[in-house]
């Protein structure tokens, strides 16, 4: 899943025929002034300025300003840019044309196992959250396109009437086309508004989630993907992502501030069971990590370095199921190199390391881990005969 911010998200919708307000994304006031010289709409329209970051509740944070002229927009941009909200620094604002309107609606397309669901409601904004029952749904099987009549029926079911039925159906059809052709996983326009000047439907906001795995067939996805969990990625997380994009297999790393139990397990499935076990035993996760698909040893070493650098950790869980084809000796080689480096840098003082693993060349790998005891590591090594998550029990007890 890859989140896309409002500016590029609206760009994709516009590509499929959806009306969006004129908008620009800028990272400085000077840039906005320059654009103002050449774009009449910036001079002549009332403007809205919003922080262009992966942030929720922008209204509450004062990061949306409406009814501005270009000067006012410049002042609003000046005020927002550089502001720190949690871990996110606002580096961009989106300036768009204000669309005078009365009615607000809701249209979305959501991925389902069978294909997708088109969601329509005749209320919008925050009202739709409170009236979820008013959202009507049309399931569409993958590979199909919803026929116009079905979308009109959906609009009628959602209490639209008169010429609006046709307009809403048309809007939903375009949003579906965008969803289907752009490998989207979720598209939401809330609100869709009726423009006072001509009565046409315009998308005032865009939530866009794309399938990052489909990037290979979308050469126009030149925008960056945004962090999905309401904070910016840390430097270490970005480092691991950069490694991940370069290698066969995968390495993953997410920091969780305040934890004392660091995770360095193998496997997308087993890693979650290890995390569950830590939480179930009352431990506090310091991170999520995972390596799988027989990654290169240097990639695992980078991951190990990041895990060892987490502040305030007391244990490291080097867990893993019995691998199918990940070479235990090779990947452990990367971990051992990372541990040695961390120890030299004084990062592992008082940290206990717990290992459990099986798979190709498990004996050689586990023996190499065990040998770290002779180098002064506080390391405890178990093989396949110890159940998967028992090392977590031992680690938490030892804490």
């Amino acid at each position: 899943m890859a989140k896309v911010l409002e500016g590029p998200g609206m760009g994709l919708m516009k590509k499929w025929g959806i009306r969006v307000p004129d908008n620009v994304v800028v990272s400085s006031v000077e840039e906005l002034s320059k654009l103002g010289e050449t774009n009449d709409w910036l001079k002549n329209s009332q403007l809205v300025v919003k922080a262009h970051e992966a942030l929720g509740s922008r209204y509450k944070l004062g990061l949306v300003k409406v009814g501005l002229d270009l000067k006012g927009a410049q002042a609003a941009a000046q005020e927002m840019l550089g502001r720190q909200v949690g871990s996110i620094t606002i580096t961009q604002v989106i300036v768009s044309e204000m669309i005078p309107h009365q009615d607000e609606y809701y249209v979305a397309v959501k991925s389902t196992r069978e294909g997708a669901e088109v969601l329509v409601a005749s209320c919008g904004g925050i009202e739709v959250e409170a009236n979820w029952a008013r959202v009507k749904r049309l399931p569409v099987e993958v590979g199909d396109t919803p026929p116009g009549e079905a979308l009109e029926a959906l609009a009628k079911e959602a209490q639209f009437s008169g010429p609006m039925i046709n307009k809403v159906a048309g809007f939903a059809g375009k949003l579906f086309a965008c969803f289907d052709n752009e490998d989207a996983q979720y598209l939401e326009v809330n609100p869709v508004v009726v423009r006072e000047s001509d009565g046409e439907l315009v998308a005032l906001d865009a939530v866009t989630l794309l399938d990052a795995d489909a990037k290979f067939r979308h050469s126009d996805w030149t925008f960056p993907f945004a962090a999905e969990f309401g904070r910016a990625y840390t430097g270490d997380e970005l480092d691991v992502m950069a490694v991940d994009s370069k290698i066969k297999g995968s390495v993953k790393f997410i920091e969780i501030p305040g934890g004392d139990t660091a995770m360095l397990p193998a496997g997308g499935g087993a890693s979650v069971y290890y995390s569950d076990a830590v939480v179930a035993r009352g431990g506090k996760l310091a991170n999520y990590a995972e390596y799988s698909g027989d990654p290169a040893d240097w990639a695992v070493e980078v991951l190990t370095d990041k895990v060892c650098s987490l502040p305030g950790i007391r244990s490291i869980i080097v867990g893993g199921a019995i691998a199918n084809f990940t070479d235990v000796k090779k990947t452990f080689g990367g971990i051992i190199a990372g541990f040695r480096k961390a120890k030299e840098e004084g990062k592992l003082n008082g940290v206990k390391i717990w290992v459990r693993r099986g798979g190709p060349r498990e004996k050689e790998g586990l023996d190499a881990m065990r040998a770290l005891r002779d180098e002064g590591f506080d390391i405890h090594v178990y093989d396949r005969h110890t159940p998967l998550t028992d090392i977590v029990d031992k680690a938490i007890q030892a804490q």
């Binding site: 899943m1 991925s111 196992r113 069978e114 294909g115 099987e141 993958v142 590979g143 289907d180 490998d183 996983q185 399938d211 795995d213 489909a214 290979f216 067939r217 999905e228 969990f229 309401g230 993953k252 997410i254 969780i256 193998a266 496997g267 997308g268 499935g269 087993a270 890693s271 979650v272 069971y273 995390s275 569950d276 076990a277 830590v278 939480v279 179930a280 996760l285 999520y288 995972e290 799988s292 698909g293 893993g320 199921a321 019995i322 691998a323 199918n324 084809f325 990940t326 099986g358 798979g359 190709p360 060349r361 396949r384 159940p387 998967l388 998550t389 028992d390 029990d393």
Partner: protein, 608 residues
Amino acid sequence: MGILANKDTRVVIQGGAAGLNAARRMAEFCYMIKAPLNVDAFVYPPDSGKSNEVPYGNGLLAVPVYKSVAEATAKHPGINTSLVYIGGDRACAAAMETLNDSKVQLVSMITEGVPERDAKLLGRHARKLGKTFNGPSSIGIVSAGVCRLGVIGGAFDNLVACKLYREGSFGVITKSGGLSNEIIWICSQFADGITTAIGIGGDAYPGTDYVSYLEKFEQDPQTKAVVIVGEMGGDLEERAAEWYGAEKRRVKLLAVVSGFCQESLPKGMKFGHAGAKEGMKGEGSARAKAEALKKAGAIVPETFGALGPAIKSVYDDFVKSGQVRPIPELSAADLPKLPRTVEEGMKVGEVIVAPLITTTISDDRGDEPCYDGYPASELINKGYEIPHVIGLLWDKRLISKQEAEIIKRIMMLSADHGPCVSGALATIIAACAGIGMSQAVAAGLIMIGPRFGGAVTDAGRYFKYAVENKMGVDEFLAYMKKNVGPVPGIGHRVKSVRNPDKRVQELVSYVKGLGIPTPHLDLALAVEKVTSAKKDNLILNVDGTMAAVLVDIGFPVECLNGFFIISRTIGLIGHWVDQRRQESRLVRLFDYLVNYAAPKRREVPPLK
């Protein structure tokens, strides 16, 4: 019995190197159960027409590679299953191609990172055709004692440890590849092992679901219980619960679900497989799934660690009620074994190998080469140079600074001698004919012999013989005349007493100036005095000088030609590069440079 992968499964693998690797794993399984290889063909357009070598036991099987699935199934009518292990951008087209082949009923995809839309399309297409599309991101399907499709089960030792050579009583369905192996292991330790284990893949929308496999397990009398390893996200576990709770089922259901940690994570933070994402209203959470399964009557241990004992208790009940009869375990000696490679055998001291060759000079097995035991980097860092490396590799000794200096001078003096000499001319002609460096330089080196540059060894040998036998010059010359012929190292084509060879003078004066004992050089110079008096050009030539000096500093005669070869190679390479740089055209001799002494043109007589 088991399901999906069975004794009749015949496989086409769609993929290149990764596909071949999967085939190797499958061959190990086939060998373990003493069945022929179940991979009939590969489809991989870049390699079509070739064949892939798949190790089977102690031999190699050649499995053909085709351009299309249609071609593969036409040539191998037994194929009924495909394994797709090709890049995420091509996987959908590959799987569609094979689903559309009337002979293929089951397609399993190992490829990860397949777009969700593609996975959904494949699932829908397979359902429409009444076929099974398993995956993407599926580690594969294994039926114990019968068939392995994909890389599920891991390495050979693990297959044996998990008793996959014979059938047990437990079915397994997992999203995670690593955990499928873990559960297979647990089933073999806490119960009698598995019937079939299926990885359905950890993506958000796998092509199949638990229910379609549960129904198949329900129909398989050998499977007495099924273990599901679930994850938060989607509704496959809820559907499985619904199926299990709907009516009385023959199979027992055990399940674990992961993702409880989500409850205590910062809001919005998700991790694990792509499919592990909770819905907006909490649907798809680990807790909701575990509860649904429990409510439907499934056994849901609180933790993953409690799964083993839960499986054991179910198994014990089966044994008690007579549903399952315990299988006697094989003794260690009877367990299937993969033939060892020679290396593995040597490691455990099981085989003796008579070495094919012996080396006494060099060892490359560490992180860097060692010359006669000395690591190359240490030699560099301690100031040693190329002549020292020659000393180590040619004569197994660390020569002195002074000896190294002599060798360096010899090399510098003999590095080249212009384009006209045999060696350089041969290299130049080859270069002009467009021949590559190694062959053109070799053409030049081939010229080195008794008449050009190759007299060093022989010269050294006879000088040494004379010195060892304390021969005087006359005695030596008489010996040579009687037994050998002209003295190697004496005589030059163009140089003479009046037109001396500066190279010889340079080398002689340097070595004599060092004040070291030079009995061979002294002999050579004495010989020259006599021979050059007889004939002007019977001077000590550069071969003879090098030979005498090198024997004086202790080099064995066998290696002496090497000093000329290595020096002159520098020049030959230079000539080749020079001609290439000039983009020289093909050259040939002019006929006026040839004395045509062949018979005049004449009529060919009739053939008799």
